[in-house]
Symmetry: C2
């Protein structure tokens, strides 16, 4: 019987033969039409498209991938999806990937090397064409397993060497300079900084951008106003508490990410200090929830959408050589978003149990 198939009747899942039959052409012509090969007779193409439409046909991606060797799948490895930094990144990644005809495979490592291992395995098995590694940490085994399979990778900040690796540069300086100058203009001279964990490249970058910006305006930082945090709420709380306990805190605090800044807000709330009347606070990242804090948080924004766009384009450029006129530049800017957590510095230094302390005053009344 040779090619005798059950699929002669209008099936739920029409294939290329069904289309060919209906359009009275060969499957090759259908294939060419779909793939926009220019040399197809317009009249036949017309028939093919019509058949495709009436059958509701769409090509089988698996079969396509099998024969072409390209899955049109892009991997996206992130640290932790519940970290508010990532959802927007994913959104952008999805949008840009789909625009370029790719689908995405997300997986999160939860900072667990073993999970990272699984992620890589999954990516490999699904035969992703490229992977964006947005974990802000350096992962040795990762590079090996994927690079060995000749899979293009893109990273943020860090730049391993290799023809298949791309890096997205982040211009931390610009936004951080804006933030420092914003505070200076308001009149702050006592500015503190809570960094991220300094083993992270991105955290070091932010800190040095801050130090530089401080230097630029002729200020010198008191060493005890430069503290290492850990990019978590708890870290922000405890460092701010330490600053408060020192008895001589700065009037403005900048942080290496928004969660830390929110921690600062919490510590200040507990200490019954007001923001921005007693302290100004500036975060970094401008995650969505920065708009929802009380007061809404002034923050240095790094466009997640831009970051995502760069990541997809970097991978695409590896996978589909672009016209020579195209000069890629994978760089994302940062900029200050002013909300209500920054204001003029307090006339007198804050002290716990001060009369300025609003809630306390009420509690006493």
């Amino acid at each position: 019987m040779g090619r005798a198939k059950r699929n002669t009747s209008a099936s739920a899942r029409p294939d290329i033969h069904a289309v060919a039959r209906l359009a009275r052409v060969s499957i090759a012509t259908v294939s060419r039409t779909i793939n926009n090969v220019a040399t197809v007779d317009p009249r036949l193409a017309q028939r093919v498209w019509k058949a495709i439409d009436t059958l509701g046909y769409s090509p089988n991606t698996q079969a396509r991938a099998l024969v072409s060797g390209r899955s049109r799948l892009l991997g996206l490895i992130i640290s932790e999806i519940t970290n508010p930094f990532f959802p927007e990144l994913i959104q952008g990644f999805e949008d840009v990937a789909v625009q370029n005809g790719y689908e995405i495979l997300i997986s999160s490592t939860n900072y667990d090397p073993q999970r990272m291992e699984q992620c890589i395995q999954r990516m490999l098995e699904r035969k992703v064409d490229g992977v964006a590694v947005m974990t802000f940490g350096i992962e040795g085994p990762l590079l090996d397993r994927l690079a060995q399979r000749q899979i293009p990778l893109v990273f943020v900040d860090v730049a391993p060497n290799g023809p298949l690796f791309s890096t997205i540069e982040v211009d931390y300086r610009h936004g951080i300079r804006e933030a420092v100058q914003h505070l200076a203009v308001l009149g702050h001279r006592r500015i503190g900084f809570i960094s991220g964990p300094l083993h992270l490249h991105s955290a070091r970058e932010r800190q040095s951008a801050f130090l530089r910006a401080i230097g630029e305006i002729g200020l010198k930082l008191r060493p005890d106003w430069l503290q290492e945090g850990n990019h978590t709420l708890e870290g922000g709380i405890s460092v701010m508490q330490k600053l408060l306990d020192s008895g001589d805190p700065p009037t403005a605090i900048m942080t290496s990410n928004d969660m830390t800044a929110i921690g600062v807000l919490h510590a200040l709330y507990k200490a019954e200090a007001r923001v921005p009347e007693d302290f100004s606070v500036i975060g970094f990242d401008d995650v969505t929830i920065a708009q929802f804090t009380l007061p809404p948080l002034t923050s240095v924004q790094m466009s997640r959408h831009e970051l995502a766009r760069c990541a997809v384009l970097a991978l695409r450029d590896h996978l589909e050589p672009q016209p020579s006129s195209y000069v890629p530049r994978y760089k994302v800017q940062t900029k200050l978003i002013v909300r209500q957590s920054t204001g003029l510095p307090a006339a007198r230094p804050f002290r716990r149990g001060n009369s300025r302390n609003a809630r306390k005053a009420v509690a006493q009344s």
Copy 2:
């Protein structure tokens, strides 16, 4: 030459033939070994596993999918990934799916019917085995396109009829009753509710659970304390403002989701009222950021992880008939998480510009 292949040397991407050759068996035996067919000679299996290990072989998912007709891909359609409700859901979905040997394809509709259309198209093209629709809205065309292709679907709350559809029930009542009783025990008698958009099934369910719980403790709700919101921050702000403007607000406010509750917090902050001293506030969903608000938000939790688990299992049960002893029950509980936005009711009703108003008092000093 027949099957003369380039793949005779140790390639970067070993295939089943390479394994067969190294293990000195046929590809069929390799296939059986991988798929745990019991009738394989243990000695051969041993050799096969060893070969697999030394070559670093992993089966080609595309080819597998092509021949088996099953992609082991599950679709997950959500409204909006930046909505804090979803990241945790995705996390759980990913975990459970991977545990069951599935990969997931996420896509978000952004409440846009046209995007929804694209989502479906993408799912269809990638030949997903099943789809979880977690948008909390009813989507007509969706059902048709997917159901027509015989693809199992799972929904939350709503229950379309059909052998391929599953529904996950949410027991809103339990958690909401706990919340109402928590307030009652604290001494609140004046309890308001800000619902979600009432065209959403889930919003209506929450509201009716609230009304019922109020009735159970012998309270009757003042009609103007039952307001319709829209599940957004802005909605929460404006409804709370209206309540405040009425001159006779409740002492406790429950809301249909956390964003609304955060909006309430904002309105209260602007009105210079204190939480929980002047007003108690309870959210719903217990999204991650509920812990980070000032004060941390008391909220009714609906376990996203449990929801995700149910969704994956519901699909799996359709796809892989389970032993008859297995009786599935797709139901998720809700429960109250008490934080610091609830407390004893104020002795005297709140009034704007009251002496109780902390910040205002300070500003005047």
